[in-house]
Symmetry: C2
Subunit: 256 residues, 2 copies
DNA sequence: CGAATGCTTGACGGTACTCAAAGATTGTGG
DNA sequence: CCACAATCTTTGAGTACCGTCAAGCATTCG
């Protein structure tokens, strides 16, 4: 699938059998599902939602009544300390499943905010258990998604705990590029890069000023370019080596 | 259940119906299971294992052929960069389920190492899907466990990204104490604390020397004591406030 | 055109890292 | 049981990475 076909900020299909026409399912990034599974997913679905850039998708301190699959756009999960310091936990791309964590905790998990305009498929939290029961395979898939997300947070923890500023930036740029590539968001080597430097700083555990200086340094070295909100990786090997971060070819994942 | 009853480094029950006699299941920390579920868990179980303090439970770069529930002792998950820098991702206590992550990734997830002598119940990875299929409730429970672990890593990421040294130490001490308390490992206000300062440093993303200086400072302030490998929290409120970390009463979790 | 937001740079200071070496504790073998 | 090694803890000295403060510049938007 080429980028040209990719529905930037498009809404999920509506009507009788929306999941049949889901554009995401055509990507190699996602595992095929049986007709029966698709029917179960669709029954679990309660509609779609659109959230503007910069708005909250899930409030940090309230349990969200619904679960979501991100259909288009960029978002991020975050937590804040009581004095306002914010840490971005992970970035979210199309296909990511959100809101599950507070199924098992009494609120106080994390907030989710849209970076760009975003569209989501909404699912009924109450019927989650029903889903596991009706189609154990989908339960297995959800476990898979949660485990995958944990793996990403594990990586970020290594970054935050053990990498210096330049290594952190290198690792984040490669990480975001690879993930976007996987869901067809790369066009001629460029990805939409809607983040400001405060986002990067909050994700990497650095101050805004130091993030800026580090970004500029790597840019002057010719490792990457950012132009009008689009990112191009010029020296992937240099960045991978600097960040000691080598993303292995990603396996197809489930899509709920 | 009192500490006196707690099986330090005890092996899991053997024989015909080991899970019936599981000591962990008597703790309030864990949800009750139906007889049918218990039978399924027991059929999924393939034996037990004992690992010495300091030895590897799961190799960092090889996929473990089995899944485990930690039955007694302390362990930790970690990742290392290619130049040897190590980050501890989380600590593991009795009841924690390990080895699941690389079910969904091709190796390269994390290593697990025993801090004290440790005993484990081993499960067949191959039969995991069978378990989901036979008892969707247990699949749901496993998702719960993974989500709970992710929540802990999220917290650590906030710590590593946004807290200073004293705040990190405060948060870690409270976190470990509360978790140990939950599974009955506290005796008269003291918990076994088998970690050396290198463990703490690697968990917090600090250097060994700075970790030492910070620990000493909080100890001189009278916030905690460590004596012969046992920890006592003297000023829980001071530590909670310093770390901006208030563990809410933890709900009972599933136990596989 | 002014306000708001985001990027960039310089100056300065402090937290945390590295290096180094001396205690303290534990373990081991003769 | 003591001596010696190994491991861990503690402290000091010097440094550097990164944070804070401040201000100027660029871009977008109403």
């Amino acid at each position: 699938m080429k980028f040209e076909d990719y529905p930037v900020a498009a809404s999920p299909p509506q009507g009788m059998n929306p999941c049949d026409q889901c554009v995401l399912r055509r990507l190699d990034a996602f595992l095929p599902v049986s007709g029966e599974e698709l029917a179960t997913i669709q029954a679990f679905r309660v509609g779609s939602r659109r959230v503007e850039a910069g708005s909250s998708i899930i409030d940090e301190h309230r349990r969200s009544p619904q679960l979501f699959t991100l259909y288009s756009g960029w978002a991020f999960r975050y937590k804040t300390l009581s004095d306002g310091r914010r840490q971005i936990l992970s970035f979210l791309l199309p296909g990511d499943f959100l809101g599950l964590q507070d199924e098992f905790a009494d609120g106080h998990t994390h907030g989710v905010e849209a970076v760009t305009d975003v569209t989501l498929c909404a699912f009924s939290r109450e019927r989650l258990w029903e889903l596991f029961h009706a189609q154990p395979k989908l339960g297995y898939d959800i476990t898979w998604l949660v485990a995958g997300e944990e793996k990403m947070v594990d990586d970020s923890l290594v970054t935050s705990g053990r990498r210096n500023a330049a290594e952190r930036v290198a690792m984040l740029l490669m990480h975001l590029y690879r993930r976007a590539e996987r869901v067809g968001m790369v066009r001629d080597g460029w990805v939409e890069f809607p983040f400001n430097q405060q986002h990067i700083a909050d994700a990497l555990g650095l101050s805004l000023v130091h993030t800026n200086k580090t970004l500029r340094r790597l840019q002057r070295l010719g490792f990457y370019k950012i132009d009008a909100g689009w990112l191009r990786i010029m020296e992937p090997h240099a960045l991978e080596k600097l960040g000691d971060y080598f993303e292995r070819p990603m396996r197809p994942t489930p899509l709920i």
